[in-house]
Symmetry: C2
Subunit: 202 residues, 2 copies
DNA sequence: CGTGAGTTTGACCAGATGGTCAAATCAAGA
DNA sequence: TCTTGATTTGACCATCTGGTCAAACTCACG
């Protein structure tokens, strides 16, 4: 394992390569389905060399998840109480859908974890995520109280946004096997936009 | 492997026990994460004994999936052109949500497959599923043409139903870590009902 | 009963996999 | 250039895992 000093040029490069490769492999095969050898090969390293940078398979996975959780939650973080309610929510939805389009591996990485009961990120869910969601549902409820948007169960409103947007990344195979050549997001964007405009109009 | 005659009492019992155990294990850990030993133990059999009934791990998985696909698609199958459009669609949605509640393992079994690119059921997707969906979207489009329901992209309408209902089974941990003690389906049912009533009203 | 088919299992195997280690190689500053 | 720490690797290990097999056991039926 590299010493605890400032990372060298080589360390930076290799750590980044490992995390990039790990994202590919973990998102495609899940934790158990991924092999250290596969990650090492994809990162252009030998297995022992990879294990020189991370002490274990688990450590790579943890580093990857915790590094990405922030990115993943950023759009919700940005939901602004002082903005226009409908615009704020639609912006959030739009960003989430864009993330499904541009970061499908990240979406599937989390999906893999969650479907299997999130054995390695339960803490983050119950703490960071719950706190953030509680904070933002308060804003939503406030908007509903003011009659700015339709009254709905705020938690389920958020779940619906997650479900509808991430579906296109997580179940990409299914979506594409039905749509054929049509770009899923071409139709998804206006559909979801219409849906939430109708739903949120008081 | 048992002979090709009519199954004995013991064969029936053990085959059923194996499939039940396999559903538990595969849905919780994915194909790669499941072990034959674990399935055997959960079914109350030794590993060689299990492999006396199914020739391989893969065979168990295949048997399970193909057996459940029919059940899984039944609600969509029942969508009836001659019924009242809004009622037919809402019934479908309600049944799907109920399946998430009562058959979460089945939902996660498919979710695990799909998230990882459906390496073992790609055929079924491109054939059976696509055919069924094409058939039913035709009905939806017809209803839209008649002005009975709002005009929407029919494929994305179906995707949205899948996403919203299966979310509660597939990402159960996440939903519960946010809702706490509250029963997810208690709030989900009216929320989704409201959503589609608003969305589908022309 | 007795017998043959159906069922079960302990012992075993080969390959995969996560991880270790000492030795070899490389890179950068004195 | 030389030295020292950083980096890389081949060889190796223990464990897990899917699967096999021959022998033992059980059951249903004549």
């Amino acid at each position: 394992m590299p010493k605890d000093r400032a990372p060298t040029r080589i360390q930076k490069k290799n750590r980044a390569a490992i995390l990039e490769a790990a994202l590919n492999v973990f998102s495609a095969h899940g934790f158990r389905g991924a092999t250290v050898d596969q990650i090492a090969t994809e990162a252009g390293l030998s297995k022992p060399n990879l294990l020189y940078y991370f002490p274990s398979k688990e450590a790579i996975h943890t580093a990857l998840l915790s590094g990405l959780l922030e990115i993943w939650l950023a759009p919700l973080h940005d939901l602004d109480e002082s903005g226009d309610p409908l615009h704020e929510i639609l912006s959030y939805i739009h960003r989430k859908l864009q993330m499904s389009r541009e970061l499908p591996r990240e979406s599937r990485l989390f999906a893999n974890e969650l479907v299997q009961g999130a054995p390695r990120i339960n803490d983050a869910l119950s703490n960071d995520l719950k706190t953030l969601v509680d904070e933002k549902t308060k804003i939503l409820t406030h908007w509903m109280d003011q009659g700015k948007i339709a009254r709905l169960h705020p938690y389920h409103l958020i779940f619906s946004i997650w479900a509808l947007t991430q579906h296109y990344a997580d179940f990409d195979v299914q979506v594409r096997s039905i749509l054929g050549d049509e770009d899923p997001f071409e139709g998804a964007d206006p559909f979801i936009d219409t849906l939430y405009r109708k739903l949120l109009t008081p």
